[in-house]
């Protein structure tokens, strides 16, 4: 939104002259509000920002220009691209992602990404410009009530109308975004606050008196949980992103290994435990694996770790694990007993709680119980997986493409998926060796997420191979970000799974709406030509003969590459727990 106001807003909010007479302490320096913004970001260790300039944020952009050697600002092609890039950056690095936009439409274009970061607990700080404080509430040019609009989808937001509040607001923003259950924070800074002068001193925020990010563990709850686990004959662990956000991968592995606890993941928990770990039983939820879904309703103890029993994981919650005692460990108190009634709720940081629990549980193997998972896995292999990942006839399948990508990157790549059929296939068939490697929009299901998020991921981890796997629908929601790749020369690999349909919706139409394909068929552009227009190497493949070589060529290419794969038009993703069904009613066809 590069509309620039024709009249420069004039600061009306100068402090009175006596303020200027006050001798500055040795720690403080006299700066403008926008200088304070950049100095504060530097003090928080920020070296990368994604954003888009415009009238109300121009003073900050001027400062970013002056500090361009210290902060790398990446110009996206749309503010939604900037916020998703910040999310991808945060998810791969574990640091706070930062994005910046102007007032009004610039800020409203961030909303989808902010909502996505909120539901997926991604730490990002969004800074938006705002009209001068004397214009607030007057429907001024490019004025939108961004604080009001983002209130339900931010962990915290704040409108800064005075320059002197900038350092403390930014310090609070970073502290809140990354502490406890992480989330997005938005700071809306009026233009006059950017211009006015202050005595600058930066103090990192260490606590807020009304906010307790990490709870004190109640040991009696740990004791109760350990006792239940020790009596269990068929325990089952379901884990989520809390393991990754809490940096508790090691503690988690020690816990399940000592207890001999078979474990399955939500798609946001994927990559927290390596794929080939003997206790990794696979994926939960609507398109998850057969065993973990079926056996959820046969286990005697269900242990939820850093996850929130989302409806896509539980299916019909009234028929979810009713036979089991349920233990739930989460850092967010509001998640405990929200969707599923627990026997023992442990309100805690998983990194602290898991070792306490590991100490108290007995060493077990549960071999017979684990064999039940393997038996069901065998059925799924025969009925679904084999023909999906090693097909011998027909059109290319998404599953074989994902398998080959995973093999050729040795399970070491960052895999970013968009939303839909290809997302489920990507999560089902990608193999991972290290944490923070699977990036996808889980809670909000934001089409258009993958391309900019993968871009941000690659910026955060330039040494790692990053592959974005996207449908033909999703790519067109943020396809303009190819321009960002063009400008930055980022070596990102993009795979379009093209079936000329909004595949997941079409699948539902086939199964539940008598094949009435309402508005799901897509006539697509020539993606290869589009990519070439952006100076990106590109190829389209349709045949099984050259798929492996084409993927190898894409990975070997020194630079960004877009590979369009034509897959079966009406392929479906199975297994499936239809909406409203119980996890045990998971369908194999």
């Amino acid at each position: 939104m590069s509309e620039v106001e024709t009249t420069k807003s004039i600061s009306t909010d100068f402090k009175d002259s006596s303020d200027l007479m006050v001798p500055h302490s040795s720690k403080t320096i006299r700066v403008t509000g926008c200088e304070a913004v950049v100095k504060s970001l530097l003090a928080e260790g920020v070296n990368t920002i994604f954003g888009y300039p415009g009238g109300a944020i121009m003073p900050v952009y001027d400062e970013l220009y002056k500090n361009r050697d210290e902060i790398h600002h990446i110009l996206t092609r749309h503010e939604q691209g900037a916020v998703h890039a910040a999310q991808g950056y945060a998810r791969v690095s574990g640091k706070v992602g930062v994005c910046i936009a102007t007032s009004g439409p610039g800020a409203t274009n961030l909303i989808t990404g902010i909502a996505d970061a909120y539901i997926d607990s991604t730490p990002i700080v969004c800074i938006t410009g705002q009209v001068g404080s004397h214009l607030l509430g007057t429907d001024a040019f490019q004025e939108a009530d961004v604080v009001g609009i983002t209130m339900p989808v931010t962990k915290w937001n704040f409108q800064v109308t005075k320059a002197e509040d900038i350092p403390t607001a930014i310090a609070k923003a970073f502290y809140i975004a990354k502490s406890g259950r992480p989330g997005p924070v938005l700071l809306d800074i009026t233009k006059d606050a950017q211009f006015n002068e202050i005595d600058f001193e930066y103090k990192q925020c260490k606590k807020i008196r009304s906010y307790i990010p990490v709870p004190t563990i109640k040991m009696n709850k740990i004791d109760e949980a350990a006792e239940i686990i020790n009596k269990a004959e068929k325990p089952f662990v379901v884990f989520g992103q809390g393991i990754i956000l809490g940096r508790a991968e090691k503690e988690f592995k020690q816990f399940i290994e000592k207890g001999g606890l078979p474990s399955a993941w939500t798609i946001l928990g994927l990559s927290a435990l390596e794929s080939d770990h003997p206790l990794n039983m696979g994926m939960l939820g609507m398109h998850g694996n057969y065993g973990p879904n079926k056996l959820t309703n046969e286990c005697d103890v269900l242990i939820g770790v850093g996850m929130r029993f989302d409806d896509r994981v539980t299916g019909d919650v009234t028929r979810y694990a009713k036979q089991a005692k349920i233990i739930h460990i989460d850092i967010d108190k509001a998640e405990i007993n929200k969707n599923v009634k627990t026997t023992v709720g442990i309100h805690a940081d998983v990194k602290e709680a898991l070792p306490l629990l590991t100490n108290l549980i007995k060493s077990r193997t549960h071999a017979g119980w684990i064999a039940e998972f393997h038996k069901l896995q065998q059925i799924e292999n025969e009925k679904i997986i084999q023909s999906e990942v090693f097909p011998i006839q027909g059109k290319l399948t998404m599953g074989e493409v994902v398998r080959i990508i995973s093999e050729k990157t040795n399970g070491e790549a960052v895999i970013v998926s968009d939303v839909g059929q290809h997302q489920m296939i990507t999560c089902r068939y990608s193999k991972f060796k290290q944490s923070k490697s699977n990036i996808t929009s889980g809670g909000l299901g934001t089409m258009g997420f993958a391309l900019p998020a993968a871009f941000g991921a690659k910026i955060a981890a330039p040494e790692r191979t990053v592959v974005a796997i996207i449908g033909d629908g999703g790519i067109q929601m943020t396809i303009q970000e190819l321009g960002t790749i063009l400008q930055t020369n980022v070596n990102l690999k993009i795979v379009i799974m093209n079936n000329n349909y909004l595949g997941m919706v079409r699948q539902w139409q086939e199964l539940f709406f008598d094949k009435r394909y309402a508005s799901t068929y897509m006539i697509n552009p020539n993606f290869v030509t589009v990519a070439q227009g952006y100076g990106i190497e590109s190829k389209k493949i349709e045949s099984r003969d050259n798929v492996a070589q084409s993927i190898q060529n894409m990975l070997d290419h020194d630079g960004a590459y877009l590979l369009e794969v034509i897959v079966g038009k009406e392929d479906n993703v199975f297994p499936m727990v239809p909406t409203g069904a119980s996890v045990e009613d998971i369908r194999l066809e």
């Binding site: 604080v147 009001g148 209130m151 339900p152 962990k155 915290w156 409108q159 809140i176 606590k207 807020i208 008196r209 009304s210 906010y211 307790i212 004190t216 967010d332 108190k333 509001a334 007993n337 929200k338």
Partner: protein
């Protein structure tokens, strides 16, 4: 089973808290029966009293979500039995109501209501009590021609002795104190 709950929320004095709290009710389609807010005995700390009719389970979930708001210290919910509560009502009557003399006086005496002010054209009656009580008075004053009627939201004090308010005083004295 739905019943009436009184939710008490203690917050920082921060713009937008009311909106933030009300969004949580709106999302779950919960109607707020009444709401009041004012500063507590500790300077700078505010107390919201919100009355809803809902199931205990739902109220528990909502209260936990309210506590997630960064500027909220604590939120509590209580049944009506666990609190002492009061509302205030004002009634504007035409001055001619006084002409009916003893009869009006009797009604006001019965209800323990009082006359706040008498102007040339009207008088204002005040009564505090539970909603049902102020409602009965309204009905009994109708024959005199009630011109205007207004009732406040509920304010409530919690019966069990608790230590939260001690924490409030400590925070007031020392900004370094966190509410644990």
């Amino acid at each position: 089973m739905k019943e009436q709950f009184t939710i008490s929320v203690f917050t920082e004095n921060h713009i937008g808290i009311l909106t933030h709290i009300s969004i949580i009710f709106t999302r779950r389609h919960i109607n707020i029966d009444s709401i009041t807010a004012s500063e507590t005995e500790a300077q700078g700390i505010y107390r919201y009293t919100i009355v809803v009719t809902e199931t205990r389970d739902m109220v528990r979930k909502v209260v936990k979500q309210i506590e997630k708001i960064i500027e909220v210290f604590q939120a509590y919910y209580h049944t009506t039995k666990e609190i002492i509560h009061q509302e205030i009502a004002l009634y504007k009557l035409p001055i001619k109501a006084i002409a009916q003399g003893a009869e009006l006086e009797k009604v006001l005496r019965q209800h323990n209501a009082r006359i706040l002010t008498v102007e040339t054209e009207f008088l204002i009656v005040e009564k505090s009590g539970h909603k049902e009580e102020t409602q009965v008075l309204l009905e009994q004053l109708e024959p005199y021609g009630v011109i205007e009627f207004v009732r406040s939201g509920r304010v409530a004090i919690i019966k069990p002795m608790w230590r939260f308010n001690e924490g409030l005083h400590e925070m007031e004295k020392n900004p370094e104190v966190t509410l644990a």
